[in-house]
């Protein structure tokens, strides 16, 4: 070693010998928080993650991430009422990310390219009877096959799909998309028996030697009310109307059609009536617009198509071709009360859209199953009885949407798997919610939402063509990149860049970062400047 210069007694050393980490009273810790979209998805999709995969244009991995949880992206990308978008933090910045439209784009792309679902698991030797081929039954069949269990899926209808086929009109869900996604599930080796109504579950189970049963019979019985009506008055229920249209056998409705009810089915019935040639399709609902259970998008689409609304009205009686309505008013609690004031509405037919009920007669004789309010009580693992009978979808207490049903199917499949392997279904701990105040939105570029194109109005009033179009690739990519990745690191390098002490180590693509605790002084800048709220300060144990 050289002799140091005159008057210098020590060799030059690096300041790295000075471990400034000892100054720290708090340390930065990387966390994963629950994005509100994931939190809100009834099907349990990891939305943030599939958007993250779609952002660089890796569509197939993005689609594969969706089908981990939900085998129906093309269907859900059309009919889901997207609670994810309602929860989306971006809505507080400009507009929610169009998650639903990106899901549809990916779903359609998968059909176009013929991407197949992940393969069935190694055979477990167990067989499960799934009763009902709607969203819940199909979802359960899919997840059970992936777990290696044999599945027999029976349905009383001539085709699979349940309410997706017989309850949702084609202008909202084209049958080609539905068929493609169902076929993919069947191709995993699901045995199918159609036109078969199960009347005694215990009998079928013993006969077929099934290890467990999943009951997903839906809610197929239309709720009726007694409406005094003349002999010539034509009354039918919305579900049979939609069912018959789906089977290409539409009933005659006349030119003036009244629809009684305020849910999505009422809107579907009204819009269907319009397409069948009704000049007037009038929805009669006892409450007002704010209290209507139907989702906002569909109401707007219906009004655009010329559907008219009679708010705060009930049907008193139906005489010949005249409907007598009674006006209502909302009391202080928001409940409708009759006013005694009557008015007339010319109508050739009345469609009742007052909700559906479940036919549970097949459960008669099943021990330890509780039925309350017309639906089956289930455990968190979707088990209805101690003997391996599980239930889901509209037949259990729920919001009765396809997305919820798909989530039930997945959950039931896991519950059944746990039951068959002698375990219990345990949920991983849920991360803390990534709320808007945890984000630093400065870093996100300004970008308004891309909206899907809609079919011209004239064609919507006469045909069953799909109303809402899809996004182009360019638009879908743009929309995906509007995601703020709430609560989950997307490797923007901000923490790595803003540390005044170089105490953040970049581990490489996909590996994220690590805090160098030898030098981290605990200033907290990385936490404040993290766009997505994926770092937190934790007090040091001293």
């Amino acid at each position: 070693m050289n002799k140091p210069p005159f008057a210098i007694t020590l060799e030059v050393g690096s300041s790295r010998a000075n471990h400034t980490g000892s100054w720290r009273v708090e340390r930065a810790v990387y966390v994963d928080r629950m994005p509100p979209c994931n939190d809100g998805c009834p099907a349990g999709e990891n939305i943030q993650q599939w958007l993250y995969r779609a952002e660089p244009g890796d569509y197939e991995p993005a689609w594969r991430q969706i089908v981990e949880d939900n085998p129906f992206p093309a269907v859900m990308g059309r009919i889901c009422y997207h609670p994810c978008e309602t929860a989306c933090n971006r809505a507080q910045l400009d507009e929610a990310v169009g998650i639903n439209s990106i899901e549809r784009f990916l779903g359609d792309l998968a059909i176009e390219h013929g991407w197949s679902l992940p393969p069935a698991g190694a055979p477990s030797g167990k067989r499960i009877l799934v009763v009902g081929g709607g969203p819940s039954g199909l979802s359960a069949a899919y997840h059970l096959r992936r777990l290696g269990h044999g599945v027999l899926l029976v349905d009383s209808a001539p085709q699979l799909g349940g309410m997706m086929r017989y309850g949702i009109p084609a202008y909202r869900l084209p049958r080609a998309s539905l068929d493609a996604e169902i076929d993919r599930i069947v191709a995993l080796g699901v045995e199918i028996e159609l036109d078969h109504t199960v009347t005694d579950i215990e009998h079928e189970r013993t006969e077929g030697g099934f290890d467990a049963v999943f009951l997903a019979v839906g809610a197929q019985l239309a709720r009726r009310v007694g409406i005094p009506a003349g002999d010539s008055s034509r009354i039918l229920d919305a579900f049979s109307l939609l069912h018959r249209v789906a089977e290409d056998d539409p009933p005659l409705l006349g030119r003036r059609v009244a629809i009684y009810g305020g849910g999505d089915t009422a809107l579907d019935a009204a819009r269907t009536a319009r397409r069948l040639g009704a000049t007037d399709a009038v929805i009669v609902y006892r409450r007002n617009r704010e209290r209507m259970p139907a989702q906002g998008d569909e109401l707007n689409e219906a009004i655009e198509e010329g559907i008219t609304m009679r708010w705060l009205s009930t049907v008193n009686r139906f005489e010949g071709d005249q409907l007598i309505l009674e006006k209502m008013r909302l009391n202080d609690e928001g409940f409708p009360e009759p006013t005694g004031e009557l008015e007339e509405l010319d109508a050739d037919s009345l469609v009742l859209a007052l909700g559906q009920e479940t036919d549970l007669s097949l459960l008669e004789g099943e021990p330890d199953i509780t039925i309350s309010d017309g639906v089956v009580e289930v455990s968190p693992a979707m088990m209805a009885g101690e003997n391996g009978v599980f239930a889901g979808g509209d037949a259990v207490p729920s919001q009765r949407t396809a997305t919820v049903a798909i989530g039930h199917g997945k959950r039931a499949a896991r519950g059944i798997d746990a039951y068959l392997t002698g375990g219990t279904l345990t949920d991983p701990p849920r991360h803390e919610l990534a709320t808007f105040d945890l984000l630093n939105t400065w870093y996100y570029s300004e970008a308004d939402r891309t909206h899907r194109p809609e079919l011209e109005r004239a064609r919507r009033q006469s045909t069953f063509d799909e109303v809402v179009g899809g996004l182009t690739e360019e638009n879908a990519l743009f929309e995906a990149r509007r995601c703020m990745s709430c609560g989950n690191c997307f490797e923007c390098d901000n923490c790595f860049g803003v540390c005044p002490d170089n105490a953040v180590i970049k581990l490489g693509v996909g590996q994220r970062y690590e805090i160098d605790l030898d030098f981290c002084k605990g200033c907290g800048m990385c936490v404040k400047e993290c766009p997505c709220g994926a770092i937190e300060m934790v007090p040091e144990q001293i």
Binding site: S15, P500, C523
Partner: protein, 342 residues
């Protein structure tokens, strides 16, 4: 249908890195192999803006010169916290002489390199606001006037922080320092004309003058890179908040710098040959209260015995800057972040 490429990248060029951008469009700081000119273990306070600004600027200069760089440092925080004998945090060729002479020393280094025929080695001189606008101003003005081939970088934290937060010629009106106490009818620093060094530098007619903050990394790096394309005197003025002297939270350093720009109090622009050539427009216009109220040096302007009249005078300064430099776009901002750094 003709398609054009998607030109929206989630965080665009606001964040340090972005996996959706090409490597070339990412910052020097996002590179795991950046120079780290100022290494870990330095003794700057938690959340030091100057330590951050110095690494940002010098790493960019190192990239622009291919590592052929000499830095001269004035006395001040940056010098003291980085080189307590016998340690150094510098991973570049680095010299320190006195408080007021760094511009003159840099001139000498440039002359020596020229004499040795080392035309590829470039010289940076750096100082705090005290070493620039007060003590070092004579040497700096001479360097400008002689048009020496040096980039002078001022890390402006608006007072003498190293010696205990005394007022400098760059301290803003109403700010409390150890020598401008928050007492009397005009508490804090006086409402003078200030010493606006970027404009003084422009008055020398030198090739390149720019301002930047630690809150906009892409902009800062682009300016260092641009400065390195000139041979001659150049000046870069970087706002570096000081949690100690400003009384802001150590985690808010970048936020404070961002607000200085977004309020209009610190105009971010660049100028060539005495003329302003570009400004960074305000993205989310913010009243000065938001900037002032998170700093204890302005604490006497708020609360029960607050001075809304002085806040209003500071707002006037911001509004004046906005109109002088045209900091607010008449057109609403259009998404094209990748062009910000162009």
């Amino acid at each position: 249908m003709t398609t054009s490429p998607v030109r929206f990248y989630q965080v665009g060029s606001f964040a340090v890195g972005n996996r959706l951008l090409d490597d070339a469009d990412r910052t020097v700081q996002s590179d795991p192999h950046r120079s780290n000119s100022l290494d870990s273990g330095h003794r700057a306070c938690q959340g030091c803006g100057e330590a951050l600004g110095a690494r940002y600027a010098l790493d960019a200069a190192m990239r622009a010169t291919g590592g052929q760089l000499v830095a001269v440092n004035a006395t001040g925080c940056l010098e003291v916290f980085s080189t307590p004998y016998p340690e150094t945090s510098w991973r570049i060729a680095w010299l320190h002489s006195l408080f007021g002479n760094s511009a003159a020393v840099a001139t000498g280094v440039a002359a020596a390199l020229r004499a040795k025929g080392k035309s590829d080695v470039r010289v940076v001189s750096q100082a705090g606001d005290g070493g620039t606008v007060d003590i070092g101003f004579g040497c700096l003005s001479g360097m400008f006037e002689r048009h020496d081939d040096v980039l002078f970088i001022c890390y402006d934290n608006e007072a003498y922080m190293n010696t205990g937060v005394q007022r400098s010629g760059a301290t803003p009106p109403a700010a409390r320092t150890a020598t401008t106490e928050a007492v009397g009818p005009e508490p804090g620093n006086v409402f003078g004309q200030g010493k606006d060094l970027p404009r003084l530098a422009m008055a020398h007619g030198i090739d390149y003058v720019a301002t930047a903050t630690v809150a906009d990394l892409h902009d800062l790096e682009a300016k260092v890179e641009r400065a390195m394309t000139f041979h001659g005197a150049r000046y870069l003025h970087i706002l570096v908040p000081c949690p100690l002297g400003w009384g802001s939270a150590s985690s808010d350093t970048i936020k404070v710098a961002r607000l200085a720009k977004e309020t209009g109090l610190f105009p971010v622009f660049e100028a060539e040959h005495g003329k302003v050539t570009a400004v960074s427009p305000i993205r989310r216009r913010t009243p000065v209260e938001e900037y002032l109220s998170i700093q204890r040096r302005y604490g006497h302007l708020f609360g029960e015995h607050g001075r809304p009249d002085l806040v209003a005078r500071i707002q006037e300064i911001a509004d004046q800057n906005i109109s002088t430099y045209g900091l607010v776009d008449e057109q609403p901002a259009v998404t094209e972040p990748s062009e910000v750094s162009a």
